[in-house]
Symmetry: C2
Subunit: 407 residues, 2 copies
């Protein structure tokens, strides 16, 4: 095919295949998505996204989490531009870093201090390092199949990884107290910490909220053994609660890892912790060229202000519930069995009798044709920019997608 | 002391100590610097920096490397703002990512492809992972004392690190062929790669440019054993050459790690590689929430354009040489023995008979008082924004600093 006959997305893919390994890599590679999904995007505004072919979508991925107030949010943009006009990457931090640490400490019941980085992986890795430095122990318990980042100790596809990179990981099953206790026994006196996601949001699986008894047992186990309870709130943070995703369970972690939504798309990650871990946190050596950059911190301050003032988590929950209820009703009418799981603000939709995900992919492809960007396997994300009208518009598309499935 | 009596910097430090471990962490912690150095910064413009106390400095740290065209560079700012008005963090990359990969492949003789990340550590870690994935081997040779990042496998202060994190590292001495060959022999058939900085720029040491014979031997060794030559160009990249820091030596790496200056302070890192490593690069799983964000890539495109058009590396070399010559003459007149090392655009100044660095620290403190921001132990950085007039103004301050040393 002549390049001139191609869509802009197809032409860009062809160019990308020459100069980017595989044409794209990581979680944003579109190859795993149904035909019709674009790889390249041109523009975002509110809950809408435009691909390079000029098509507009009501977006339910929110950039895989970071966009929590919507693209081009005026208050966040204004804060970022105001800071950028002064300076971003300087010889040290700006006042914004102190303000943001103070803000997080005031907001999060578990937190006495905060540190900042760029990737969610930076935050989870720093938590593990602080846990080991504080306890003088090595073993870290993680849930089987949980995603905690993409460097050798945690990446889900371990090509290029050595066995030593994971030498001190032990595995339990999320929400399974017996498996947790077995893993803790295996670690014995070398148990440095337990790293757990806010809820079970594994790829291509139904999601599971934490059983309160499981969460409490994690806390008890850490208290009894002197180990560190690390909450990986990178994906869920600030969508379920402004006070940490386990606050409503009455379980406070020792350390929390944050990123994604904390600055509405500006690159930022954070670790928060309590005083027992402060000394080690001050003595480990972690850093990065852009970790103190001020613009992302100014954006984070504005993001947290807006989310809190507008009760963002509740708003996203309500809009997610509206979507969920509408889809449930449509599936019932269509006589198609589906499973909707996870918190409404981070929904996963899977189809019954769909081991190959063919039904889910067809459904999403049909919705995409009608201007709604869903994901057939991964949890999705609501933002505070989604209105009732947006949800209702999306539901028109999903209704037609269900109808198409029956043909 | 009453907070109201404090300088803004002192007041911010007091606030920071409450909510940030140690008040600050990593390479930007000012505690290792002489008294008088600020911790917090307010503003940057060109080669000038303002601290929160309102003092202006001619800056020779350039944010520890990222600022290569000067703060608030109009062409970079304009490119970034133009992209930001469209979108930054979307559901996938923008066209900017393809353009930037094409730009790097065209610019760098060794490169057939490029990938992007956020931290220099992301880039070095990805290189190591690609080397292992391609070769199916595990051992990585690194120079003793070299800095390649700040996660467990490479951080220079290994508190919280386990021995397994470094199980497959073997060490040689930079510029010492015999030590390199010994380490390669130790690795034997398990040699995956050799990771080497563009030059030896270890903290608190005289810098050493690569001996061309050493660089050639690295290439030969990798060719003979099927191992990967990885150039860590994170710190030096685009200051010594637009074509990779070893291009002038006639030695091309297999993989290169980039970050810091690539986007003039916007958070970005890159890995470039040749076709032999493309397949593994496409199959390892590395990613991050902000790795495809478009604004930093737009900034990188503008940064590379400006550097190339204005012959940035040569300009920085010339200004660095002017500074070096002036300081050498002043030291001679003052009768003070100093050693200036490294490429002129990334100078290190150390004092003779100064094991505790007391002389160097006093010299820098005196220069700082006079509005010149130097570092007593770490290599410094010129930017293309430094003019002859800036250098000459800085030299007035250093002359007075030398005079103060004699009192």
């Amino acid at each position: 095919m002549n390049v001139l006959d191609q869509t802009p997305d197809a032409a860009l893919r062809a160019r990308a295949r020459r100069v980017i390994p595989g044409g794209m890599y990581g979680h944003m590679r579109s190859e795993g998505l149904p035909a019709g999904y674009p790889q390249f995007f041109a523009r975002g505004e509110g809950c809408h996204l435009w691909d390079v072919n000029g098509r507009r979508y009501i977006d339910f991925m929110c950039s895989w989490g970071p966009i929590i107030l919507g693209h081009q949010h005026p208050e966040v943009t204004e804060a970022a531009l105001r800071q950028a006009a002064l300076g971003d990457c300087l010889n040290g931090p700006s006042e914004r870093m102190v303000e943001l640490a103070e803000r997080l400490v005031a907001l999060l019941p578990h937190a006495d201090w905060a540190m900042f980085a760029k990737n969610g992986t930076d935050a989870t890795t720093t938590c593990v390092t602080i846990a080991r430095a504080t306890t003088g122990r090595r073993k870290i318990l993680v849930a089987k199949g949980a995603y905690h980042g993409a460097i050798p100790w945690c990446t889900p596809h371990p090509l290029g990884v050595t066995s030593e990179d994971r030498a001190h990981l032990l595995y339990f099953t999320f929400n399974d107290i017996a498996s947790l206790e077995t893993a803790a026994d295996q670690a014995g006196g070398d148990l440095a910490g337990i790293l757990v996601s806010a809820f079970r949001h594994d790829y291509a699986q139904d999601q599971h909220l934490p059983d309160p008894a499981f969460a409490r047992r994690l806390r008890e186990l850490c208290d009894a053994t002197g180990a560190t309870l690390i909450l990986d709130d990178v994906r869920a943070g600030f969508r379920l609660s402004m006070r940490g995703s386990w606050d409503s369970l009455g379980v406070q972690p020792d350390l929390s890892a944050w990123s994604k939504a904390i600055a509405n798309g500006y690159a930022l990650a954070a670790v928060t912790g309590n005083d027992h871990f402060r000394d080690a946190a001050s003595r480990i050596y972690v850093t990065g060229s852009f970790w103190t950059s001020a613009v992302a911190m100014a954006a984070a301050l504005a993001t947290l202000d807006c989310l809190e003032r507008e009760n963002g988590p509740e708003r996203m929950r309500a809009m997610g519930q509206r979507l969920r209820d509408g889809i449930a009703a449509q599936a019932k009418v269509a006589g198609i069995g589906i499973r909707q799981s996870g918190p409404p603000q981070m929904p996963t939709i899977l189809f019954d009798d769909d081991a190959t995900f063919a039904k889910g992919e067809r459904f999403c492809a049909e919705a995409l044709k009608r201007g709604v960007y869903l994901h057939p396997k991964h949890n999705m994300f609501l933002s505070a920019a989604h209105t009732e009208a947006d949800i209702d518009e999306a539901l028109v598309a999903t209704q037609q997608a269900f109808a198409a499935l029956r043909t």
